[in-house]
């Protein structure tokens, strides 16, 4: 379940010169960075910096205009999202959209059944789904409808579905949005455990910076589609370019 047994130097994710244009608008401009196996990497940047576009390119929802995204030796650019999922990359979404007509367990079982590289039996899928629900903390009411879940529960379900596909790499999209402080602490903790116990590498996009910066190992900062900084959280937080990107430019009057 998400473990890696690959060669010692499995290059988890290598993004090189990634560019994405929408007509005349360049959303990403030659972005390059690496994700190391087993790390939690934070992807941050002010509004409109291209974080979501980047995620969409990696998960296959968008095709890059140019550049490469390598997962191990496999080039991802141009592959369909389901193929990318079967390769071992899972993604959560900012606004969870569970299957409303299925129970909590069924939602996760569907992911376990269809998302894994090898199809397992339905019973096996359900068993795994139950295990994962236990991990995220939703095991007490597996047969309840999803409508019973509040914000925190929905985000947990979102993570559970992603985990059920058996990924090596998890793209977590704003896992803390809309949660109260205790739920946020729980969500951050869960991400730590996913990395620690399941050995899943995580790339995490988030706006709730205070929490993210305390959890991630490294940070990549985007602004207007370009990478402007990369490094440990503390370094990045004090980088004047980053501060300026967030707080606004010191505009020089002509």
């Amino acid at each position: 379940m998400g473990g890696h047994l690959g060669a010692p130097h499995f290059q988890m994710l290598t993004v090189t010169g990634l560019t994405k244009r929408f007509g005349g608008f360049t959303a990403l401009n030659a972005v390059s960075f690496e994700v190391k196996e087993g790390e939690i990497l934070g992807l941050i940047g002010p509004n409109g910096s291209g974080k979501t576009t980047l995620f969409n390119c990696v998960s296959g929802a968008l095709t890059p205009s140019s550049g490469s995204i390598r997962f191990g030796a496999q080039e991802l650019a141009g592959l369909t999202p389901d193929r990318i999922c079967h390769l071992g990359i899972a993604r959560t979404f900012q606004i969870p959209r569970p299957f409303r007509k299925l129970t909590i367990l069924e939602n996760v079982a569907v992911a376990a059944h269809f998302g894994a590289a090898q199809r397992s039996s339905e019973a096996e899928a359900r068993r795994r789904a139950l295990e994962i629900l236990g991990l995220v903390g939703l095991a007490t009411t597996p047969h309840a409808p999803t409508t019973l879940l509040g914000a925190g529960g929905l985000k947990k379900l979102e993570l559970a579905r992603a985990l059920a596909t058996g990924p090596k790499l998890l793209l977590a999209d704003e896992s803390l949005g809309g949660l109260d402080s205790s739920e946020m602490a729980g969500a951050a903790d869960l991400l730590r455990r996913i990395r620690g116990e399941l050995h899943i590498t995580i790339v995490w996009v988030e706006h709730i910076m205070a929490t993210l910066m305390r959890v991630v190992d490294r940070v990549v900062v985007l602004d207007h589609g370009e990478k402007i900084a990369e490094g440990k959280p503390r370094e990045v937080a004090e980088d004047p370019k980053v501060v300026e990107a967030y707080l606004g430019e010191k505009v020089v009057l002509a």
């Binding site: 002010p46 959280p233 937080a237 967030y246």
Partner: protein
């Protein structure tokens, strides 16, 4: 003038504002800053009536506006310039401004309001017959503000007016907002561009993950590392 007490609001299962209280006095210019996703837009939408709070109260000039729909709130004297401007793209500039004066009291003072708006934003007068959708970003922003002023408000809410504008345009825009303020309007502005907005306002609130974290005079906040921390985390 404006009083929010213990407002909690959100969308569906998600809460965007937790127990927020703030005040705006008549004649003031107040900013609400905070990182993306902090709930700033939700805050303005609650004030203007676009969404109803789950808890808390909203009072304007002594009248309770809690849960009142938007078309009633504007009749009380609060105009909201929404995020993304939301001008009517297929109507002309003149028609957009006409729509701004939809309220009966506004229609009576239509000619005078129009003159004021054209004095503040001469480019709108030049382009009055043009389709609003063909204006540049900066011009659309001016139109959005002008349209709001047509309703004869006393409080103007501005939601991220600098979004999507080139830096030079941003400077010009903030200058114009300063002049609007000088005309006597009370302003509550939400902005991501902290540095610029703190030069414009008297006081500011810092909103982070739906909680009001800090409040103070603009000059004081500008120095504070606290603001930097709210945006960058550490």
């Amino acid at each position: 003038m404006l009083e929010l007490r213990n407002v909690t609001a959100g969308y569906g299962a998600f809460t965007a504002l937790w127990d927020v209280s703030l005040d705006v006095a008549a004649g003031e210019a107040v900013a609400v800053v905070g990182p993306n996703g902090a709930g700033k837009t939700t805050l303005l939408r609650v004030i203007s009536g676009m969404i109803a709070p789950r808890a808390g109260t909203l009072t304007f000039e002594g009248a309770s506006l809690t849960g009142r729909p938007a078309y009633e709130v504007v009749a009380h004297g609060i105009a909201h310039v929404p995020e993304g401007r939301r001008i009517f793209p297929m109507l002309t500039v003149a028609d957009n401004l006409k729509m701004g004066a939809y309220l009966k009291v506004a229609r009576r003072a239509y000619a005078e309001s129009l003159e004021r708006v054209f004095a503040l934003f001469p480019v709108l007068s030049e382009r009055r017959r043009q389709r609003a959708g063909s204006l540049s970003g900066g011009e659309q922003q001016m139109l959005a503000v002008g349209r709001a002023l047509m309703s004869r408000p006393r409080l103007v809410l501005l939601d991220e007016p600098s979004m999507g504008l080139a830096p030079v345009m941003v400077l010009r825009l903030f200058d114009l907002i300063r002049r609007v303020r000088e005309e006597g309007y009370t302003i509550l502005i939400v902005e991501q561009n902290v540095r610029q907005v703190l030069k414009l306002v008297d006081r500011a609130y810092l909103l982070e993950a739906g909680h009001l974290k800090m409040e103070g005079r603009a000059e004081a906040l500008a120095e504070q590392d606290f603001v930097r921390k709210a945006y960058v985390g550490l």
